[in-house]
Symmetry: C2
Subunit: 518 residues, 2 copies
């Protein structure tokens, strides 16, 4: 049996025993085949010594059990790595940041505590997946939509805490930004409720997010200051209809006018859906390529989804078309108007996640592209945030063309990108995906290329907002303004709230004092 680092086997046995008493022997996992289930299937170090592996796992079912598990871990100084459902593939999955940590698996805490239709919010536990919440809402016949990421098998809480986003209307796509109120277990086992939830019998926990005094919720985003056991989320009342338009331009430089117009429309919420900018023609988002040999192929295509009442969205689309008409030579294609709830026939034709329906279809297309029809199986995502302007797109694309070969040993590596994701309001991500599989030599090349991209992009002011676990230190180090002052602040807070450093050590580059380098 593996033992966590810096823990003696007798202490670990004592802790396991206490955990078995707390959660039941069936929910403490130490057998190799059980613990192996927590491996990161997309690990860039698969089966290499550096692969991040758990020593054991423990799965509490209630808040009180989480508290008991944490208190024991704190007593014996055993590192815990909390996961909600562990579906965070491409960013570390269910494997810990520090090898030897015990995975605190919260998937059994899967109660939908409340769905309030009139005020359009939900309060859930960490084990509630998008599928769970969707089923709950559907069975109860409530007229609200959820905003799922793609794929939708993960946890609402896990996705929000990892900085994830979805595919319906703004502002719901920003999952952390659309939360309202948390319950958190701290390293000493104490429970904190944030926002209005700190008032006993509060009537407005999910009605006002900021509370009174400092707002601590942000500390738990991509963080390791506590374990979130409940979280409120805003839901969207079902929009009555959906329409979209596609704008295409034929000169590369017209992406400047394209994005300026998009920004104008989105920043005043005339277009409210998850927009997408494609290089070339319309194609699946992970594989658009401009076929420059075919005459009439557009340089850029932009999709503009709009949700709302039918007559409103028709007026919005018309207004958007008028605004884009100022871009010389553009072509505007109006999409079909769909009324909700979708008919069974319509459900088959659409990308359901854009209609609040969680799906797994992404796995059939992920990483696939004309250049790479058979991807290695997994991937890790590199996603620097670049300014939301056409100039940035052109600059990033030029940099990519000029440096890709040298940085990644050529196109044949199967790296996909850059795909310019405009699905976040006010932000743009230049996503690249690095295929990861079971071939060590290939994985090694991908790691090297990935690390180069992180470093080179940072030098250009393009910062990665989210990273696979093994690269979180590297990315955190690029945020180095004033001698890493922000990271030092996080470390100071970490040491204060978790003095024994037991909660998810190393997550997003924040290490407790005894494990800190330098």
């Amino acid at each position: 049996m593996a033992v966590p680092p810096n823990v003696n086997p007798a202490d670990f046995e004592a802790a396991l025993s206490l955990w078995r008493s707390a959660v039941g022997a069936d929910w403490v996992f130490t057998a190799a085949e059980d613990v192996a289930l927590y491996r990161d299937a997309y690990s860039p170090y698969w089966a290499e010594p550096e692969e991040r592996l758990a020593s054991a796992a423990v799965a509490p079912a209630t808040l009180e059990q989480v508290q008991a598990v944490v208190r024991t871990a704190n007593r014996y100084r055993i590192p815990l790595y909390a996961i909600s459902t562990g579906r965070n593939l491409a960013y570390g999955g269910s494997a810990p940041a520090l090898s030897g940590s015990v995975v605190l698996d919260l998937k059994r805490m899967n109660r939908v505590l409340e769905v309030n239709e009139r005020n359009a919010y939900a309060l859930v536990e960490p084990g509630v997946s998008y599928f769970d919440l969707y089923d709950h809402i559907t069975k109860a016949g409530l007229d609200v939509w959820i905003d799922a990421p793609d794929p939708g098998w993960g946890s609402l809480i896990g996705n929000a805490l990892d900085g994830g986003g979805g595919w319906t209307a703004s502002p719901f796509r920003d999952h952390f930004g659309s939360h309202c109120g948390m319950e958190v277990v701290l390293a000493d086992g104490e429970v904190v409720r944030t926002g209005m939830g700190a008032l006993p019998n509060a009537k407005s926990w999910q009605h006002y997010k900021w509370g009174h005094g400092p707002w601590v919720d942000g500390l738990f985003r991509q963080g390791n200051m506590g374990i979130v056991t409940k979280m409120g989320f805003y839901l969207m009342p079902r929009p009555e209809a959906y329409i979209s338009g596609t704008v295409q331009v034929y000169r590369e430089e017209d992406v400047v006018a394209l994005l300026d117009t998009l920004n104008l429309l989105e920043n005043q919420h005339v277009v409210n859906g998850s927009t997408a900018l494609y290089y070339g023609d319309l194609e699946n988002i992970y594989g658009s390529v401009r076929d420059q040999a075919t005459p009439g192929t557009p340089a850029w295509s932009l999709v503009l989804p709009i949700y709302g009442p039918e007559k409103v969205i028709r007026a919005q689309l018309e207004y958007a078309r008028d605004k884009f008409a100022r871009v010389p030579g553009m072509r505007f294609v109006e999409g079909e108007l769909l009324r909700t709830p979708l008919t069974a026939e319509a459900q088959k034709r659409v990308h359901q996640v854009n209609f609040g329906i969680p799906i797994l279809a992404i796995f059939s297309m992920l990483g696939r592209s004309p250049a790479n029809p058979a991807p290695a199986g997994g991937h890790i995502g590199f996603s620097p945030v670049i300014p939301r302007t056409g100039e940035s797109v052109l600059e990033y694309q030029r940099y990519y063309r000029e440096n890709m070969a040298a940085m990644s040993a050529g196109k044949e590596t199967g790296i996909v990108g850059p795909v310019f994701l405009t699905n976040w309001e006010r932000s743009m991500v230049a996503l690249m995906m690095f295929p990861i599989g079971r071939d060590k030599a290939s994985n090694s090349r991908m790691r090297l290329a990935f690390a180069r991209w992180v470093t080179k992009a940072a030098e250009h002011g393009w910062a990665e907002y989210r990273a696979p676990t093994p690269f979180q230190d590297l990315v955190a180090q690029t945020y180095s303004f004033n001698n890493h002052a922000l990271l030092h602040l996080c470390e100071t807070i970490k040491d204060a709230v978790d003095p024994n450093g037991i909660l998810s050590p190393g997550r997003y580059g924040v290490w407790p004092k005894h494990l800190r380098k330098g």
Copy 2:
């Protein structure tokens, strides 16, 4: 000359001398008449021993000067109370939470560092007022609106950090929620940039707010963990038009259907302006009263402002009217459509703050009501957040009617309220205003009534989101879930990031260790 608590006069002199070297002798204030300018004009303890008074003030002009001032304060353990422009009347103004603190007055740091029209954001220093930013934008001829509170003489940063809101479209009205990136000076004088700003030469500081790893910005909201020296804010591209409708219902209980319909419309952003619920007929927001003697007077009136392109907002208003038509006996009055920029004539007729124009007109009406035509001059605001439902409104109103006399010694006290403010998306505040003047006996009654309301409201689950400085401890104590776990967490963080407890001790109930009671 006053000396801060627990500081010996020689140390204070040494600090003053260092501050004079750092910022210039003209910008360190110790004379009684200068320091008196920092008194809170609306203090409920005016001229009583408990009035919170500064010992001195220091006004740096640059980031480096702020750092120097803070380092000196930290060396001599002198409490600083940071203000931006100090206009936070009704919540403490420019007076410190701890008497004897030195006011760190940031009004000289008044540079508009950037206004980006294409991406609709601004980056400003703390001394920049809404008037300053408005002038800057107007002079530069930029086509963006700001969202000002009413009155608009305060600081963007100060208002956002105090939890303030404005009066144009959602989401811009949530001033803290609409910020993107901060620069902060910590208690040791170090500078931190948050979000993407932590990447040197970041290109997306105002393009993506969350950054990588824990998000610390929330700690500086209603907080005392650092001094914010720069902050980014989202702006709204000028909407081409504005329209509003008013819905009136005639039975008290119809407020339930009224708010359910409003929630549906607002939560899908069909209505995007700052809505207002009036009891009775339309009247100024701080003094609506239902005249039950006059036949045909509505029980409730609800104003629905909508911003956007003309044909879109016409469709939105029409849709809203159709939805409200389901409320039996309702009356819908369509307002005038106004195109922007407003004509000079239109500017005179409208409440300009709803059109992105900062004003001071509120001072001519504040606290005035039919019941209290000549208010005492100042007031303090009690603003518990209640659920955004008609049942809550009726419950709060009933509670008010049944208990007001006993809690406040009768209507003749001049207390105004409750006014149900629906201007925040998803939240509702039951605002009451307690008149404050120069009469000690009256102020004493107001303090007693205010404290009773805080306590009694909390018992009912109605929590105050913001409080005048002298009541921040009382309010913070009502957030007592699990033996005040949230406050203890804030104190733990405070002790870690500001171990000498020099930054705004006591602000929003968070005291440093050496000043903590119990």
